[in-house]
């Protein structure tokens, strides 16, 4: 029950010589939902990108153990195959590649075998239903011409299909209307299982109406300055980040 998914020790990273993460420590265990909050520019999205392996981010120091393996030496696709998932804040548009073709290719890579055509299609339809997505999106080119909300739903659809051990949701609520936020986070809550974990990055408190985190962390200037339970999020809402109490 308390098996470790990821353990981050003293992680520091920089972009073009400028240090963004200044020593992150974080442990996430199976079955847990963590929320990281923090002001703009604190390094929240950077943390997500560094963990996924974005090549623009240079790791200066630190260790990350993911599913018992050294995450930082792995290529991006290897990280995904090991069970890491990132829901992008700004998902890329890929013209000419249909959502269905993309999902099938990704599933094949992550699961190691080609999914059965018919049952896979069925699975997609039921997951899209959960997300209140029109199944016509399967024929559309990946994220091309999608609204902000459609892009984010498509990210969660990918998460549902790939079934990761750790899903990092980077500002998945940004740019969404209130109904979409509800649908997305209720789906995320459903995808939370005893053997996986979810890390939600947000600066939007209201998501706590739809998901129940076990831990809330506050990230300011590249460091986690405070950790606690849900009550911490409520405190932030009333006091804001800029207070120097922590």
């Amino acid at each position: 029950m308390t098996s470790e998914i990821i353990k981050i020790c003293n992680l520091k990273s920089s972009v073009e010589g400028q240090q963004i993460l200044k020593g992150i420590d974080l442990d996430i265990k199976a079955g847990e939902i963590h929320v990281i909050m923090g002001p703009n520019g604190a390094g929240k999205s950077t943390l997500a990108n560094v963990l996924m392996g974005h090549p623009a981010h240079k790791v200066d120091t630190g260790e990350v153990t993911f599913m018992g393996k050294d995450l930082l030496t792995m290529k991006v696709d290897e990280r995904a195959k090991a069970g890491l998932f990132l829901s992008f804040q700004y998902p890329e548009e890929v013209p000419g590649v249909t959502v269905e073709n993309f999902l099938r290719t990704a599933k094949k890579e992550v699961a190691g075998i080609m999914p059965m055509a018919l049952s896979f299609k069925k699975e997609l339809h039921s997951k899209m239903e959960m997300l209140n997505m029109d199944s016509k999106y399967l024929e559309r080119y990946l994220n091309q011409g999608f609204s902000g909300g459609e892009k984010k739903k498509n990210e969660i659809l990918q998460m549902a299909v790939l079934n990761p051990k750790l899903a990092i949701l980077d500002e998945t609520d940004s740019g969404l209307d209130i109904d979409a936020i509800r649908v997305v986070y209720e789906s995320v809550q459903k995808l939370s299982k005893a053997d996986n974990a979810i890390l939600v990055i947000t600066h939007y408190n209201k998501i706590l109406n739809y998901i129940t985190p076990d831990y809330v962390h506050v990230l300011v200037d590249g460091k986690i300055v405070r950790s606690g339970d849900v009550t911490l999020a409520e405190e932030i809402e009333s006091k804001g980040y800029e207070k120097r109490e922590w």
Binding site: H54, D77, A80, T105
Partner: protein
């Protein structure tokens, strides 16, 4: 956002030359006749005698030779200074006569076409097939019901004799020996190619296909394709071209003349996959009469240098043209391609969709012309060019020339030049897809609008070519 490749994505291994598999298999040369190097009047006479041609054709050849010798090399496009005209054998005839049964085609030639999937394609979904090996057509067949309707599909040499009046009416009237140095050369030494005649009102419901292959070392290929689609008739014609690689240069200077009559429709698809020492200097033109329609689908792969600009002349009111093209320039290649459209009548429409990919220092140049004559009012035209560069060493240029002779036109033009985005690769890799496959997916997605215009087996071939091009270049 990220600009430079980082640690994980910078590991690339480059291979000098992509293995083109079956395209590079070289057969033993076995010719009954091979012209001496270089070009003289004697050679022209010999070619004509070998073919047992009528006098007017010999006269045309000789006149063309004269013009060829007088015209300077064009310098406005690709660098042709390395092209040694004396070193290219203009006419090579394989050691076989034309056959209508695949079993009669000599074994090694047959194997070549087998490897390229030609008979297979015929079995599946084609109304007729022609295969040209070096300069001569070695295989031709067509469905019986189409023959009965008066459809003619034969090789150009036979057509000169069997359908002399039609050939004489159209042959080199749209592309003449005075147009440029290579059209003059073509007029002098042309050999082989396809002749298609679709009578009035006949709709050919399956594609006709023709395949060219250059096997002889240093051989030039100068096939002439002449297609006439009469009033209210329709046709889809597919041409594929390839050549194995030798260390000497090869030259390809074919000519394609397409005549689309009133209310007729022609779709002309080509995939050209030449070896990397080929100078592909090809001329293709189509004349479209009232309410007729031409659709070009053009894929340019391989070759050292290509200069290819299929041209539509919209001569009759309401005529239309659609051009869909893809060019893939890899290491050491300069591909100067595009399309020309002349709106010479009112209410004519044209659509141009051109895509190019360059990698490993390859250079793709889009050169286009859109001309609207003063009398051609209510013209509608959309030109769309997109280029994708796979690395920082590759080049891409766009030169769309637009000449408008009147005010009552609706012209849209869009050109986009971009690099393959590292963020897109990162996104796809974050879903477990390898870097190589991510790049291939992006490239396949980029060309998808073209792939879907192609018949299935050509779409598969296009994808295979793209995979061959990308293989081994991304680590």
């Amino acid at each position: 956002m990220r600009k430079e490749s980082g640690e994980h994505m910078a590991k690339k291994t480059y291979i000098e030359e992509v293995n083109r598999g079956v395209y590079d298999i070289i057969n033993k040369e076995d010719h009954r006749y091979k012209a001496d190097r270089g070009l003289t009047e004697d050679i022209i006479r010999e070619i004509s005698r070998e073919k047992d041609e009528p006098q007017w054709m010999l006269d045309y050849r000789l006149k063309s030779l004269e013009i060829f010798n007088a015209k300077p090399m064009p310098t406005w496009g690709a660098d042709l200074s390395e092209l040694d005209m004396d070193n290219i054998v203009h006419y090579v005839r394989p050691n076989t006569d034309m056959s209508t049964s695949w079993d009669d085609v000599p074994e090694d030639i047959k194997q070549t076409f087998d490897r390229l999937g030609i008979p297979e394609a015929e079995k599946k979904s084609l109304a007729g097939v022609g295969a040209q090996y070096d300069s001569e057509v070695v295989y031709h067949s067509m469905r019986e019901d189409l023959k009965a309707k008066g459809v003619v599909y034969t090789d150009m040499d036979s057509a000169v004799k069997a359908y002399e009046s039609i050939v004489r009416k159209y042959f080199m009237t749209m592309i003449t020996n005075r147009d440029h140095k290579f059209s003059a050369l073509h007029g002098a030494v042309w050999s082989g190619g396809s002749f298609v005649y679709v009578p009035e009102g006949v709709e050919v419901d399956f594609p006709l296909q023709s395949y060219f292959r250059l096997n002889a070392k240093g051989a030039g290929q100068f096939e002439h394709t002449l297609i006439v689609v009469e009033k209210n008739a329709s046709l889809h014609f597919i041409e594929g071209c390839s050549a194995p690689k030798y260390s000497v240069q090869n030259l390809h200077a074919g000519a394609v003349e397409l005549f689309v009559k009133e209310g007729a429709k022609l779709r002309y698809s080509t995939i050209e996959n030449w070896s990397r020492n080929m100078y592909n200097l090809n001329t293709k033109r189509c004349m479209v009469e009232k309410n007729g329609k031409i659709e070009w689908v053009s894929g340019s792969f391989g070759s050292k240098v290509s200069m290819l600009y299929p041209m539509s002349i919209l001569k009759g009111e309401g005529a239309s043209s659609e051009f869909t093209g893809i060019t893939f320039a890899a290491k050491g290649q300069y591909l100067d391609t595009g399309t020309k459209v002349v709106h010479a009548a009112p209410n004519t429409t044209s659509i141009v969709n051109s895509k190019s990919i360059s990698k490993d220092g390859g250079h793709a140049f889009y050169r286009g012309l859109l001309r609207v004559t003063p009398n051609a009012v209510n013209v509608k035209s959309t030109v769309n060019c997109e280029s994708l560069m796979l690395d920082n060493r590759s080049k891409s240029d766009t030169l769309p020339i637009i000449e408008i002779g009147n005010e009552q036109v609706d012209i849209g033009h869009e050109a986009k030049i971009g690099r393959i985005s590292d963020d897109t690769i990162f996104y796809l890799m974050s879903r477990g897809i390898s870097e190589a496959e991510a790049k291939a997916m992006i490239v396949r997605g980029f060309v998808e609008p073209i792939t879907k215009e192609l018949p299935l087996e050509y779409a598969v071939e296009l994808n295979n070519l793209i995979n061959l091009e990308l293989e081994g270049t991304i680590g």
